[in-house]
């Protein structure tokens, strides 16, 4: 029989500590949609998505009701479009983006991911074409998310792609200037991009994935924060144990929902992503967890150490709770989507440089950071190169989702609303890396011995 104590604990997590399932994401392969005819290609993509995901939202809602746990997002990720759009013109690529957008609207999902190119070793023609269309595709669609993998530990860093992405991000910011440069909030530049990530904006359905798959992303920063708060004065080893236990409970919820969704939809279960994903809501912040661990404010000395311990304990607790773990799996630190991060930036406690250091020990990278609209493409590329290097050298995923908000300057606040939240515009170092960036070429893959 269930104990009342356990029942009350679960109810409290859901009702008071913002515990939810952040996303059920269905991955769909589009390889069999390829066609010489651009219109036919788009039609086949639409049909395939609609056929496979037609019951996704309904099923998600039913599971939500049955277990009484909010499932915030139901989403779809598809094969990187650059891989299915070989030989397609730029207009054809944008047509596909619009097709994905239409499918997302018709399914009733808020985002669809996979307007993606994998160019870590070099640009092929379809990768180059797709990347060139990203700003227009993001400006002319509402729900399409785009990502570009520019580096990997095995391939090194494609610096031509890094230089290109600086310009693409600036262009996306300009083309969506009337809505706070929101195009950039739907564009991620990756190193070591995971192929089974359920979280947007970086989700795509990798080439080694099955035909269709269900991946689930859990949440729960509020639950961890509350557990730490209640623990009071204990040492760090005890704190790590507490975080592990809490992460276990959160992840078990994800595993249950993933299995249920997989069974009901008749789609194989892929992974549970063990991430602590914050939202702008009070009580759902990763920054506040770090502060409960003993920091005056997120960003102060000790922040990286706290985050490293948190991230590790979350993984240790979560791994045992799920039969298959993957995706990004770690604590997210998106500035605009985390009430505590926003407060820390406003108070001058959290800088871009500190955020970069933090990304060395957690998932994922410089995420949802607004910088002045007049930041040059070369500086954006330099920021990308720095962040991507951390991922390549440390054999981990890193990413950049940065918004050079057109017409905004330091001190202004960019307000997207909803899950994307609001971002105070942060100052950047304005000295130029343009000679370095414009050298182009390729940074070789790092050596895997002589580690120091």
């Amino acid at each position: 029989m269930l104990s009342h104590e356990n029942i009350l604990e679960t109810l409290q997590m859901i009702r008071e500590e913002c515990l939810d399932i952040r996303t059920i994401t269905m991955g769909i392969s589009l390889f069999d949609c390829q066609s010489d005819d651009e219109k036919r290609l788009a039609d086949k993509i639409y049909d395939k998505i609609m056929k496979n995901a037609r019951d996704l939202v309904k099923t998600g809602n039913e599971i939500e009701k049955m277990y009484g746990i909010p499932i915030v997002n139901k989403r779809v990720s598809v094969t990187p479009i650059a891989l299915v759009a070989g030989g397609v013109s730029p207009d054809g690529c944008v047509r596909i983006a619009k097709t994905l957008d239409r499918a997302a609207k018709d399914l009733g999902i808020n985002f669809i991911g996979g307007y993606t190119a994998l160019v870590q070793k070099g640009f092929n023609d379809s990768g180059r074409t797709l990347v060139s269309t990203i700003p227009q595709a993001l400006a002319e669609t509402e729900r399409v998310c785009s990502s570009v993998n520019v580096a990997s530990t095995k391939a090194g860093i494609n610096m031509d792609a890094v230089a290109r992405m600086g310009k693409i991000i600036k262009e996306a910011a300009f083309l969506t200037k009337d809505s706070g440069s929101i195009g950039c909030a739907k564009l991620v530049v990756f190193a070591n991009a995971p192929e089974d990530n359920p979280f947007m904006a970086g989700a795509f359905h990798g080439i080694g994935e099955p035909e269709t798959v269900i991946n689930v992303g859990v949440s729960g920063p509020g639950v961890v924060a509350s557990a730490i708060k209640k623990a009071g004065n204990c040492n760090l080893a005890e704190l790590a144990e507490l975080i592990k236990k809490t992460a276990f409970k959160i992840t078990r919820m994800g595993q249950l929902v993933a299995q249920e969704a997989s069974g009901r939809l008749g789609v194989p279960f892929g992974i549970v992503d063990l991430s602590l994903a914050p939202t702008p809501a009070v009580g759902d912040s990763v920054a506040r967890i770090l502060e409960h661990m003993g920091l005056e404010q997120c960003g102060c000395a000790g922040t990286t150490a706290c985050l490293a311990m948190l991230n590790d304990a979350v993984k240790k607790g979560g791994v045992m709770a799920s039969s298959s773990v993957g995706g990004l799996s770690g604590a997210f630190i998106p500035v605009s989507e985390d009430e505590g991060m926003i407060a820390a930036v406003r108070a001058g406690s959290l800088s871009l440089e500190k955020l970069e250091a933090m990304t060395a020990v957690c998932s994922v990278g410089l995420d949802m950071i607004a910088v002045p609209g007049d930041t040059s493409a070369e500086i954006i590329s330099g920021i990308i190169a720095d962040e991507i290097s951390i991922g390549v050298v440390n054999t981990k995923t890193t990413a950049v989702r940065i918004i050079p908000a057109y017409g905004y300057d330091v001190g202004d606040t960019l307000n997207f609303g909803g899950l994307l939240g609001e971002a105070p515009v942060m100052p950047v170092n304005t000295k130029s890396p343009s000679v370095f960036i414009n050298r182009g070429g390729h940074i070789p893959a790092p050596i895997h011995s002589l580690k120091n």
Binding site: M1, L2, S3, H4, N6, I7, L8, E9, T10, L11, E62, K65, M66, Y67, G68, I69, K249, R252, M253, Q255, L256
Partner: protein
């Protein structure tokens, strides 16, 4: 299969009666009730057997929520698996 019905709200006459009546109507068997009133606030956890429920469980969830709304209470019916998943290895 079991379900947990949780109820929170201002105390009033007949809360348990109304919920029990709704359970009986839908063939939901009550196994255990734990209830208290503190400073005028009523809280209850009811564990029920839903093996012979005569409507889809999600419909029963809606019915309970509606009953809550009508009586200024928060009533949630949840499948037991969520608690088992979280607290049992």
């Amino acid at each position: 299969m079991k379900a947990v019905i949780s109820v929170v709200g201002k105390d009033a006459i007949g809360i348990i009666a109304r919920i029990s009546a709704s359970c009986a109507e839908n063939n939901v068997n009550i196994l255990d009730i734990s209830q208290s009133v503190l400073h005028g606030y009523f809280s209850m956890i009811m564990i029920t057997d839903i093996d012979h429920i005569n409507i889809p469980f999600t419909e029963f969830v809606d019915k309970m929520s509606l009953l809550g709304e009508k009586n200024s209470l928060q009533i949630h019916a949840m499948h037991e698996d969520i608690f088992n998943a979280m607290h049992k290895i």
